[in-house]
């Protein structure tokens, strides 16, 4: 076996161990690699920023524990912006684990302490609603017909924020952050196409190529692209958190992966050339 062939047959354990090392180094000692704010994140920020004080935002927590490390920081940074702008927030979950993420997010944002807002008046959590697009259509079509109590079991008639909210006409902005393709496309279909509402969406980076056409056609006014989008949001809202820390790890490990791809290609063609010479 030639040196080139040995290089192409590098055991995956070695590759993974090197990637692991590349993740541990910036975790222990942050490198402070430069962060270029993306246009899509800036558009999300500007869309929310343009909302007048008191506007009602419908927000969907469309992820669970698996998505939290990537999307939790983006949600936290977004909530900081919503509360700083004095927007009213109606939070729901289209993913079953979303209701478990809600307390984690609120624990990090601390809206009562940091912004002096009141549950029920400035924000409310209506919990997980099954059915994905059916749930979206229901909430936008006739919210009181679908939701009779909030997540804590309080009837919506006793919640000041929900008293006058009937459906899509009462929402000024629809925002969501999700790991699900059905949820991310669903909000575009149900909120933008059906009601022409302003929609901003956040999702995993691997979903961005699928969702980018909706952003290009103006159906999504802003996009938070995975950890990168979350880091952008933390920077823009001036609330640095886990995403900015993670972006170093991401940049460092992905650079290593790119180097591996280059080495792999060189080795592949090198081995091919060596074989041709032998024959």
């Amino acid at each position: 076996m030639s040196a080139w062939e040995k290089l192409t047959a590098l055991p995956r354990e070695i590759v993974l161990a090197l990637v692991l090392i590349a993740m541990i180094i910036p975790t222990l000692k942050p490198l402070g690699l430069p962060l270029m704010i993306g246009t899509m994140s800036k558009d999300w920020y500007n869309t929310v920023d343009a909302q007048p004080e008191g506007s009602i935002v419908l927000f969907d927590i469309g992820f669970g524990g698996g998505g939290y490390p990537s999307l939790g920081p983006a949600t936290i940074a977004s909530f900081h912006q919503f509360f700083e702008k004095n927007l009213k927030l109606i939070i729901m979950a289209t993913q079953v684990e979303g209701s478990m993420m809600y307390p984690l997010i609120m624990e990090a944002v601390k809206p009562e302490t940091n912004y002096g807002v009141v549950y029920g008046e400035d924000y409310v959590f209506i919990g997980y609603i099954a059915g994905t697009q059916t749930a979206m259509a229901g909430v936008l079509g006739n919210l009181p017909a679908i939701v009779s109590v909030d997540y804590k079991g309080t009837p919506i008639g006793q919640i000041p924020l929900l008293k006058d909210v009937k459906g899509a006409d009462d929402f000024d902005l629809v925002a969501y952050i999700t790991t699900s393709g059905d949820v991310s496309e669903g909000w575009v279909y149900q909120a933008y196409s059906a009601y022409k509402k302003d929609v901003v969406g956040g999702f995993l980076s691997m979903m961005t190529p699928t969702m980018k056409p909706y952003y290009d056609t103006g159906q999504l006014l802003g996009v938070l692209d995975g950890v990168k989008g979350a880091a952008d949001m933390e920077f823009l809202t001036k609330h640095p958190g886990d995403a900015i820390k993670s972006s170093d790890v991401l940049s460092f490990s992905q650079t290593l992966v790119v180097i591996f791809i280059i080495i792999g290609n060189i080795a592949y063609f090198g081995a091919k050339g060596a074989k041709r010479e032998d024959s």
């Binding site: 995956r12 354990e13 993974l16 079953v96 684990e97 209701s99 478990m100 919990g127 997980y128 609603i129 099954a130 697009q133 059916t134 259509a137 679908i146 939701v147 009779s148 109590v149 079991g153 496309e185 669903g186 575009v188 279909y189 149900q190 933008y192 196409s193 059906a194 056409p213 909706y214 290009d216 056609t217 159906q219």
Partner: protein, 154 residues
């Protein structure tokens, strides 16, 4: 700084345990997998009951008796396990499928077809050189992908 929060340590343990599968299947990975399945199943059951209570039963309690139909359809789903009356489960399934398809299709045509065609057929020239290049690449990508799927036969 080392965290004193137990939750952080539990999360760190399960992260490493789950990632260890990248090397090979092992007992620590299996432990994390089984814990996740157990916790997720437990949570699903609780949320299922909560959904029935909050979005079904609470309406009936407020006098909206039409919600009994939802309960009947839900119970009919379980006839799947009955040897003689298993066919009854088809009615709620038909309702779910019809409802789902109807709701998503009404907007998908606009979002996925009309607006995408409109954007792809836009003029190539844009404000910046890179945007112009983007438009040309999108056009070429669209034509080549369509040609592949339309003209490729087995």
């Amino acid at each position: 700084m080392v965290s004193s929060d137990l939750a952080v340590w539990i999360a760190a343990f399960y992260t490493i345990a789950a990632t260890s599968y990248a090397f090979r299947d092992n007992i620590v990975f299996k432990f994390s997998e089984n814990t996740l399945i157990g916790a997720a199943a437990g949570h699903l059951i609780v949320m299922g009951i909560k959904n029935i209570r909050d979005f079904g039963w609470s309406h009936i309690m407020q006098g909206e008796i039409i919600y009994f139909i939802v309960f009947i359809l839900g119970i009919m789903l379980y006839f799947r396990f009955h040897r003689e009356y298993y066919w009854l489960y088809r009615y709620p399934i038909a309702f779910l499928v019809g409802n789902g398809v109807g709701i998503s299709t009404r907007a998908a045509i606009h979002s996925d077809f009309i607006l995408q065609v409109d954007e792809t057929a836009a003029p190539w020239t844009a404000a910046t050189g890179m945007d112009t290049l983007d438009n040309i690449l999108i056009f070429i990508g669209c034509i080549t992908a369509l040609s592949y799927f339309i003209f490729t036969f087995e």
